[in-house]
C-alpha cells in the first residue's frame, strides 16, 4: 500500500536520526495533501523531532462560539511545517465572554502569547441574522451599538489581564440576505448593519494596543460563502465550516501568527528565468522571453506586481540566478515589459555559483541572518537542494502553472506584517543606496575621497514627540555600535527629557544616495561640572562613515557651553559591541577607571576639542538649549 509504505519510510528516517530528510519529506507530504489525516500523522512525527529541529514555541488560546476542534490539528501541522511548535488552549464552547471577563480563568493561567476571539454573527447578534425584516431602525441601531461595545469591553478587559496579542474575527455576512435583493436598495439593510459593526471593530485596533482584526467576512467571501458553510454540520455538531474549508481557516490564522511570533522573512530572493519572466534569456534572447501585458507574459507581470507590493511593505529583494550577467542585466534595465528594475534589488548574485553559497553571501551582504531569507525559484531541483543544504531558508513551492505564481506568493505567511513603521517601508531603499555607496567606494582612490564623495549631512536635534519612539527603539535594538547598551522605553526617555540635568540627542544622517533616517542617539547627564555620557549609539546602517565623530564633537561643544569641565563615559563591553571598543581612545580620551564591567574614559574639556571631519556637514536644529 502506497500510503503506509510512505509512512513507514518516514518512520525509518526518524529512527535513523535523519532529521533533515524527515523535515523535507514531511513538508513535501503536506504540500501534496493538507487534510485531517495527514495532519495527525505530521504532528506525531514532528513531536518526535522536538529538540532536534529549531522549532519556535508559541502558545495560542482560541475563544469561540462554535466548534473549532477539527481546525486545531490542521493549524498545528501547518505551523510545524513552518517551524512553529504551537501549544493550543481551547476555550469552552460558547463561554468566551465569561472566560475573558474572569481574570482567574484558565485562559489567563495558560499564559498565551496570542489569543483568537472567533464569534459568528448569528451567535452574537442573532436579531440581525435571523429576523432583520422584523426590526425597526432603532432596534437595528441598538443591536449594532450593543455588539460594538461588547467587543470593545472584551478587548479592554482582556488587555487589563494579559499582555498577549488579541486577534478578533469580524462578523460575516449571510450568503443570502434575509431581505433578498431589496437589502441593498436602502442604506439601512442587513448587510449595511453588519458592515457598520465591522467598521467599529476596525477602530478597536487603534484604541487597544496589541489588538488585530481578522477580516473573517472577507475570508469567507474569498472562498465563496456558499462553499464555506455546511448547514448540516452546524445543526448537528455546531461546526459551521465545511470540511474542505477548514484548512483555509487554519492558514488564515497562521498569517497572523507568523508576524506575531517573529517567524518572518526579511528578504525575498528571486530566480530569473521562468520565475520573473517566461523562457530562458540565454537561449530565447531578450526579445524571445515572455513578460508584458499580454498573455503569457502577463502571468509574470502579475507576479512582479506582487513582488513590488512586498517591496513597498519593506521586504528586501535580491536576485540569485544562474545566468550570464550581461543577458540578465539587459532584461532588468531595458525590457519594456519588466516592472522590476535594478534599483529595486538590494543584492544580486547572477552567476554560475551554486545557490546555497550565493544565499549565504546575500545574507552576509545585507547583514541579516540566513533564516531571514525566502527563495522563489521555479526549479524543483534547486528548491530541494536549498532545503537540504540551507534548511533555515524559507523555500516557496511554486506551482507548475505561472498563472498561479502571483497568488502563491501573496499567500505566503512569512511576508505578513501587522505593524509597519515609516522606517520599515523605506528599508529597501536604504539597502539599494548602500549598494550604490559600495560602488562609489570601489571607484574612489582613497577612503577620504569616498567620504568626501558621499556628501554627508548630519542633523542633530533634541528628542521630540515625533522622534521619541524611534529613539527608544534604537536603544532597544542597537547591539554593535553601542557603548553602554542601556535599553530604554519611551516612558523612560520622556522622564529623562523632563529632568534639567539630562540631554537626549538624536542624529539623522543624509548623503547623496539616501536619507538614512534617524541613526544616532546620545544621552548625557550633567553633575558637578562633569558631563557623563549615559548612552551613545549608532545604527549599523552608518557604521564606518565617521558620523559618530560628528555627534561626539557636537555634544562636547554643548557640554562645554553648559559649563562642564570634563566629559566622561563608560565603555561596557558585550558579546556584540566590539565595533565601539576603540571609540573613546581614538578620540583622545584617557582611561580613568577599569573594573569587571568595563572602563571609564575622560576628556578634559578646557584644553581639547573634538573636530568634526570636514566631509560631514553638521546641522543643528535643537534651537535654544534647555
Amino acid at each position: 500500500m502506497e500510503i503506509s509504505k510512505q509512512r513507514e519510510e518516514i518512520a525509518n528516517l526518524i529512527a535513523a536520526g535523519a532529521t533533515k530528510a524527515v523535515n523535507i519529506a514531511l513538508a513535501e507530504l503536506w504540500g501534496r495533501e493538507r487534510g485531517p489525516a495527514v495532519a495527525g500523522f505530521l504532528i506525531s512525527c514532528y513531536e518526535k523531532l522536538r529538540g532536534h529541529l529549531p522549532f519556535l514555541p508559541y502558545r495560542l488560546a482560541i475563544l469561540r462560539s462554535y466548534t473549532v476542534e477539527p481546525i486545531v490539528p490542521l493549524l498545528r501541522a501547518a505551523a510545524f511545517v513552518n517551524g512553529i511548535d504551537l501549544t493550543v488552549h481551547l476555550g469552552e464552547f460558547n463561554t468566551y465572554a465569561q472566560e475573558i471577563l474572569d481574570g482567574n480563568n484558565s485562559l489567563y493561567k495558560f499564559k498565551p502569547d496570542a489569543a483568537i476571539l472567533a464569534v459568528q454573527t448569528r451567535d452574537i447578534v442573532p436579531e440581525l441574522w435571523f429576523k432583520y425584516p422584523d426590526l425597526r431602525m432603532e432596534d437595528a441601531s441598538a443591536a449594532i451599538k450593543r455588539t460594538a461595545s461588547e467587543f470593545r469591553n472584551w478587548a479592554h478587559v482582556f488587555r487589563s489581564h494579559s499582555k498577549a496579542h488579541l486577534i478578533i474575527h469580524n462578523l460575516e455576512q449571510p450568503a443570502l440576505s434575509s431581505q433578498g435583493v431589496f437589502d441593498n436598495q436602502s442604506a439601512s439593510g442587513q448587510y449595511a448593519a453588519i458592515r457598520r459593526i465591522n467598521q467599529e471593530l476596525g477602530e478597536l485596533v487603534h484604541d487597544v494596543p496589541g489588538t488585530y482584526i481578522l477580516d473573517y467576512d472577507a475570508l469567507v467571501a474569498r472562498h465563496g460563502r456558499l462553499r464555506w458553510q455546511d448547514e448540516g454540520k452546524w445543526l448537528t455538531v455546531r461546526l459551521p465550516i465545511a470540511a474542505g474549508q477548514l484548512i483555509n481557516m487554519a492558514e488564515e490564522w497562521l498569517r497572523f501568527l507568523h508576524p506575531l511570533a517573529g517567524k518572518i522573512a526579511k528578504v525575498l530572493v528571486l530566480d530569473l528565468d521562468n520565475t520573473l519572466w517566461g523562457g530562458i534569456v540565454g537561449e530565447d534572447g531578450i526579445d524571445g522571453i515572455r513578460i508584458g501585458v499580454e498573455y503569457p507574459g502577463a502571468a509574470f507581470q502579475a507576479l512582479q506586481r506582487v513582488i513590488l507590493d512586498l517591496y513597498r511593505r519593506g521586504i528586501l529583494l535580491a536576485i540569485c540566478s544562474k545566468n550570464n550577467p550581461e543577458d540578465a542585466m539587459a532584461v532588468l534595465e531595458k525590457h519594456p515589459g519588466m516592472l522590476l528594475r535594478p534599483q529595486h534589488f538590494a543584492a544580486m548574485r547572477i552567476n554560475w555559483v551554486d545557490k546555497p553559497q550565493n544565499l549565504h553571501e546575500i545574507a552576509d551582504e545585507l547583514n541579516v541572518g540566513i533564516d531571514s531569507l525566502a527563495l522563489l525559484d521555479d526549479n524543483p531541483v534547486e528548491r530541494r537542494r536549498v532545503r537540504y543544504d540551507v534548511p533555515e531558508v524559507t523555500v516557496i513551492d511554486l506551482p507548475e502553472n505561472p498563472m498561479e505564481y502571483a497568488r502563491t506568493l501573496q499567500e505566503c505567511p512569512v511576508f505578513e506584517r501587522l505593524t509597519l513603521s515609516a522606517e520599515d517601508r523605506e528599508r529597501p531603499k536604504y539597502y539599494v543606496a548602500e549598494r550604490e555607496r559600495a560602488q562609489l567606494e570601489q571607484s574612489s582612490a582613497s577612503r577620504e575621497d569616498f567620504l568626501l564623495g558621499l556628501r554627508q549631512q548630519a542633523e542633530v536635534a533634541c528628542v521630540s514627540s515625533a522622534t521619541l519612539s524611534r529613539v527608544a527603539q534604537l536603544t532597544q535594538k542597537t547591539n554593535q555600535f553601542n557603548l553602554t547598551t542601556k535599553r530604554y522605553s519611551e516612558q523612560e526617555i520622556s522622564r529623562m527629557v523632563s529632568l534639567p540635568e539630562y540631554q537626549v540627542y538624536s542624529m539623522q544622517v543624509k548623503d547623496r544616495f539616501a536619507d538614512n533616517g534617524l541613526v544616532g542617539v546620545a544621552i548625557t547627564r550633567d553633575r558637578d561640572s562633569t558631563c557623563e555620557v549615559d548612552t551613545f549609539l549608532l545604527s549599523c546602517r552608518v557604521i564606518g562613515r565617521s558620523v559618530e565623530t560628528a555627534l561626539l564633537s557636537y555634544l562636547t561643544d554643548r557640554a562645554r557651553t553648559r559649563g562642564n569641565r570634563e566629559l566622561r563615559g563608560w565603555y561596557l563591553p558585550t558579546k556584540k559591541n566590539a565595533p565601539a571598543r576603540e571609540f573613546y581612545s581614538a578620540h583622545g580620551f584617557t582611561m580613568v577607571e577599569q573594573n569587571d564591567k568595563g572602563s571609564l574614559w575622560q576628556l578634559d574639556l578646557s584644553n581639547l576639542s573634538i573636530h568634526c571631519p570636514e566631509w560631514i556637514e553638521v546641522i543643528s536644529t535643537d534651537g535654544a538649549q534647555k
Binding site: M1, E2, G40, A243
Partner: protein, 82 residues
C-alpha cells in the same frame, strides 16, 4: 491513487488514531480503539468527506458506529454519483 474505498478509509483512520493501518478492521469502533473519541469521530468524518469529496447528511452520521458503517454509507454515496 486508486486504492479501494475500504483501504483508503483504513489509511485515514490509521493516521488519525495513530495506530498501524493493519490493525483497523471493518468492526473497529470507539470501543476497540482507545484514541477514537468524539472529536476524532468528527475528524474522521471530515477527513473522509474531504478525501472523497462527499458530504454526509445528519441522519447518516447518526448511524456511524464503526469503520464498516462509514465505508457502507460512503459506498452508497459513491454509487449514486455514478
Amino acid at each position: 491513487m486508486t486504492l479501494p474505498t475500504f483501504e483508503r478509509v483504513q489509511c485515514i483512520a490509521a493516521d488519525l488514531f495513530q495506530v498501524p493501518a493493519g490493525s483497523i478492521a471493518a468492526n473497529s469502533s470507539p470501543e476497540s480503539i482507545p484514541t477514537w473519541d468524539s472529536v476524532q469521530q468528527l475528524n474522521l468524518i471530515l477527513a473522509v468527506e474531504q478525501e472523497f469529496e462527499v458530504q454526509f447528511e445528519p441522519e447518516e452520521l447518526d448511524h456511524i458506529r464503526s469503520i464498516g458503517d462509514i465505508v457502507e454509507q460512503l459506498q452508497a454515496k459513491l454509487a449514486s454519483r455514478l
